[in-house]
Amino acid sequence: MSSKRVQSLDSVIIRFAGDSGDGMQLTGDRFTSETAALGNDLSTLPNYPAEIRAPAGTLLGVSSFQLHFADHNVLTPGDAPDVLVAMNPAALKANLGDVPRGGTIIVNTDEFTKRNLAKVDYDVSPVEDGSLDGYHVHPLALTSLTVDALAAFPLSRKDKERSKNMFALGLLSWLYTRPTAGTEQFLKGKFGSKPEILEANLAALHAGFNYGETTEDFAVTYEIAPAEMRAGTYRNITGNTAVAYGLVAAAHLNGLPLVLGAYPITPATDILHVLSKLKRFGVTTMQVEDEIAAVGAAIGASYGGALGVTPTSGPGVALKSEAIGLAVMMELPLVIVDVQRGGPSTGLPTKTEQSDLLQAMFGRNGESPVAVIAPQSPGDCFDAAIEAVRIATTYRTPVFLLSDGYLANGSEPWCIPDVANLPHSATNFATELNDVDANGDRVFHPFLRDPETLARPWAIPGTAGLEHRIGGIEKADVSGDLSYDPDNHDKMTRLRQAKVDGIAKSIPDLLVDDPSGEADVLVLGWGSTYGPIAEATRLVRNSGATVARAHLRHLNPFPPNLGEVLRRYQQVIVPEMNLGQLALMLRAKYLVDVQSYTQVRGLPFTSVELAEVLTEAKANLSGVTR
C-alpha cells in the first residue's frame, strides 16, 4: 500500500515526448492500454516526424504521444498537457509552449548535457536557470536510475539505457495508479525470445514504479475514477485498424471476398498491414507496383465479383484518379480509403488535414460523381467502412471513405459491436437474361438499371449467357454497346449523376444536437473535427450559452434535410482543417452564407479555440436585430 496522499482527479492529459528512437509511441500505447483497462474514457494523439530517425537530440527528431483520460466522456486528446514527460532538451523545447503554467514537467536530466543543450540552442539548462519556475518540475536522472536498476544484468550500458522508457512508464503508472500487469504481459509477448531483454524491461518498469513509491520527489499520487460509458465490452482501437476491421466485417456480412490493392503510403499503410494478416477471413492483399496498379487490381477484383478496395492518401488519390473515373463509367463497386494528410504534393506526410474533400468530389475528368463519406472518430471508422461498402455494392459505384491522419493513428475505447446486430445482406449478382431485344429474343443488357436505385446489374465472368463487354468509352443506355450519340451521352451523364444523388434516399436525416431548442448558431463539421467541435460545444454550453451542433457523415450526397437545417439557424459555422472546402460545397448547393473557420497546422483543432470562435459568433449575433 502506498503511504502517500491520494488525490482524485476527473481528467488528465499526459504528453510523452522524446527522440524518435526513445520509444515514446510504445510508452504511450502501453499507458493507454493500462488506462483503458481501468475504465477511463480516453483519446490519444501520436505525433511523430516524417523522418524515421532524424538526427538524435534535434527538434526535428522529437516524437510525442498525448493521452487524455477522464472519469467522463472524452472527445479529444486534449488541448494542453497537464503533464509533460521530456526525455531530452529537444523534447522539452518542442513541447514546452503547449504546457500551461502550473503544469507538471518531468525531465530526464541525464540527457541535459552541454552537447544536447547546444543542439537546441539552450545556453544554460532551463531546468537550472529558473525559466521553468512557473511549472512543477521533477528533474530526474531517468537514464542513470534505469542503468543502476539494471546493474545486475549482463547487458551493455547502451542496452540498459534503452529500457529508460519502461522506467518512465513505471513511474507514471505509479503516479496515476495504473496497473502494470497488462504491460508485463505485453513485454512477455514482445521479448519472449530474448529473455535477458525481457527481464531488463520488466525490472526497469518495476524500478520506475517503486521509485515513485519511495522517492520524496512525488508527494501525491492520483486516481481517476472510471468513466460512465455505455454498457458493453470495450477495446482500444485506432482508426486504421477500425477501417480494416470494418472492411473485413462488411465483406463477411455481404458474402464477398475482400481484395485490397495497395501501395504503401503514410498514414494509410497500417490498413494494409492489418489486412495482410487476415487471410483467415479470405482477405487477399496485393502490394503492387504503384498506386495506379493498386486501384487497378481492386477494379479487376470487383469486376470479378469481389469487394475491391484500395487504401491510400492524397497523393495516391491523385494517381488513381483516371482509374476511379473508369470505375464510375463501368459502374462497378469500389471503395477508396483516403487517409488524408497535409498537402499539396508530399506536404506533411505524418500530419493530419481534411484537404482532400474536393479532390474526392471532383478530382477526375468529366462529370464523374462518386459517393463520399467520412468517419468522425477512430472507432467510428468501423461503421463508416461498413456504410461505404453498403453504398458501393448497392449502387455499383466508387465510394470515398475520407479518414485522416488524426483518426488513423489516434485511438479510443470502442464498444465492440455484436456481430449478430450488424447488417447482413447477400449481394445480388445477375444470373439471368434481363431484357427482350427488337426481335423478341431474350437478351442480357448490362446497363438496364434497377428502377429504384438506378444501379446496373453486376454480372460477373463465369456467368453463362451474360457475356458482355464494358469499358471506359460511353455506352448506350440499356444495351451497353459503344455509343457516340450526343443525346445518349447527355442521358448517361445525367443517369450516373442521378444514381449517386439518389443514394440520399437511403441515408438518415442529419441529426442536430440542440438541447435547448433555442440556439441561433449552428456549428457544422465533418470527419475528425467531431471531437474538438463537440468538446467546444460542451464548453460553450457550460458557460450558459446555447449552440447547436451537427456532424456530417455523408458528404456526397448530403442528407436530404441538410438545406432545411442550414436555413433554420441565423449563423452556421463550419470549422475545417482546410481552407473551407465543405463551406464551398454548402454555399454552392444551398446558397447559404455559412461562415468558414479554418486551420491547416497539421494538428487537430483545440476545443478551447473553437469555443472562442463560437462564443464570438454569438456575441456578434447579439448585436444583430432579429
Binding site: 492500454s33 479470405g282 483516371e322 451474360l466 463487354r469
Partner: protein, 359 residues
C-alpha cells in the same frame, strides 16, 4: 492435383471450367460478338482477331470463363469483337486490372490485349511487374511500331530516326526490344510471332495458353495507314527465309537452309554458314533453360534493318505463379482454421486480446 503442379499440358487453364463431354463443339463463330469490327481496311488486327477466334475453341473452355482485358489504342478494341467477357480499360493499365481479376478468380482464363504504346510506354511499369510476378495472364502485345489511334506519332518501338508527325526531324528515341525487355524482367514465357503467319501465330497462342504464368506474346502487326510496310521484308517469303531466325525448342537455331547461329570466341552470338559450321558452337535452342541469358542473347539478334529477326518462343519455363501462391496462403490458412470464417470468428477478431467490460 493442384494448380501449382506445373508443366503438364493445359496447366495454363487448370482450374478453369471446361465444356462438358456432351456439349456442342465450339466454333470460331461462337467467339464472334455482334459488334461491327471497326479497324481500318487492311489492318493486321483483323488477322490476329481471326486467328484468336479460330484458336479459342481448341481450349475447350466454357466461353463465360474467358475474359479479355485491354488498354487503349487500336488493338485495345479487341475485346468488343469477342463474345467472351471483356473489359476495355484505360491506357496502359490492363495488366494491373487483369492482375486483380486473375488473382481473385482462379476459374478464369484471363487474356490481355495491348499495343506497343499501351504496354511499353504508358503502361511499361505494369507490364514488367506482371511478368516479374508471373501472374497467370496471356499478354498479346500488338507491335506496329507506331501510335495509330492518335494518328501517327513514333512509339517506343519505332526505329531511331523515324520521321513522324511528332518527329519531323527524325525521332531521337532509342526503341525497346520487347523480347529483351520481357526476358530482362524474367518473364517465364516470351514469344514473337507475326499477324499474317496464321499457323505460327496459332502455335504460339497454343503454347502460351498451356503455359501457367505470364506469357508475353509479341505480335508484329502492320498498320496500313500510319506505318505501312513496317514488316514488309519479313513478310516476303524469300526475304523472310533469309532473315528469320527460327527458334524451335531442341533444334539448332538456323536462318534459312544455309545459316546457323553459333557462339563466337567470346561467347557472343554470330551468324555462320551452315556448310562447314563447327556444330559444337551452334546454339541448340533450349526454351526451358532456367537461366534466361541465352534467350536474352538470342533476342539481341533482332536488327532494325531486319538483317535477322528471331521468331518463335524465346523462353518457356515453369515457376509458381503469383496468383496461385496468393490463393494458397489464404486456402492453407482457412483450411487450418477449419473452414471459412463464421460470425464467431469475426467476433473474436473484433474483440482482440485486450478487452474490458463496462456495466
Amino acid at each position: 492435383m493442384t494448380t501449382t503442379d506445373l508443366g503438364m499440358p493445359g496447366a495454363g487453364t487448370l482450374g478453369v471450367p471446361r465444356l462438358s463431354e456432351d456439349a456442342a463443339t465450339q466454333t470460331k463463330k461462337d467467339f464472334a460478338s455482334d459488334q461491327e469490327v471497326r479497324w481500318c481496311a487492311g489492318c493486321g488486327d483483323y488477322s490476329v482477331l481471326a486467328a484468336v477466334q479460330g484458336f479459342l475453341p481448341e481450349l475447350g473452355l466454357k466461353r463465360e470463363n474467358i475474359v479479355f482485358v485491354s488498354g487503349i489504342g487500336c488493338s485495345s478494341r479487341f475485346p468488343f469483337y469477342l463474345n467472351t467477357y471483356g473489359m476495355h480499360s484505360i491506357h496502359g493499365r490492363a495488366p494491373a486490372i487483369a492482375t486483380g481479376l486473375a488473382t481473385a478468380r482462379e476459374d478464369l482464363s484471363v487474356w490481355v490485349v495491348t499495343g506497343d504504346g499501351d504496354a511499353l510506354s504508358i503502361g511499361g511499369n505494369h507490364l514488367i511487374h506482371a511478368m516479374r510476378r508471373n501472374i497467370n495472364l496471356k499478354i498479346l502485345l500488338f507491335n506496329n511500331r507506331i501510335y495509330g489511334l492518335t494518328k501517327g506519332q513514333y512509339s517506343p518501338t519505332s526505329e531511331f530516326g523515324k520521321v513522324t508527325k511528332s518527329s519531323p526531324f527524325g525521332s531521337v528515341d532509342r526503341p525497346f526490344n520487347p523480347a529483351s525487355l520481357a526476358l530482362g524482367a524474367e518473364a517465364t514465357f516470351v514469344a514473337r510471332t507475326m499477324d499474317t503467319d496464321r499457323k505460327h501465330l496459332t502455335s504460339v497462342l497454343r503454347a502460351a495458353a498451356e503455359h501457367r504464368g505470364t506469357a508475353l506474346v509479341e505480335i508484329y502487326q502492320n498498320c496500313p495507314i500510319f506505318n505501312d510496310g513496317a514488316y514488309e521484308l519479313i513478310k516476303d517469303r524469300d526475304e523472310a527465309e533469309a532473315r528469320i531466325v527460327h527458334l524451335i525448342d531442341g533444334e539448332p537455331v538456323r536462318i534459312g537452309a544455309d545459316k546457323f547461329v553459333a557462339r563466337g570466341d567470346s561467347g557472343e552470338l554470330k551468324v555462320v554458314a551452315a556448310e562447314g559450321a563447327d556444330m559444337s558452337r551452334v546454339v541448340i535452342h533450349d526454351a526451358g533453360a532456367d537461366d534466361p541469358s541465352m534467350a536474352f542473347q538470342l533476342s539481341r539478334l533482332e536488327d532494325p534493318t531486319f538483317a535477322h529477326m528471331p521468331m518463335g518462343i524465346f523462353r518457356n519455363v515453369s515457376r509458381p505463379t503469383y496468383d496461385d501462391l496468393v490463393r494458397a496462403q489464404i486456402d492453407d490458412t482457412v483450411t487450418k482454421a477449419g473452414g471459412p470464417a463464421t460470425d464467431t470468428d469475426l467476433a473474436t477478431l473484433l474483440h482482440g486480446k485486450d478487452t474490458w467490460n463496462v456495466g
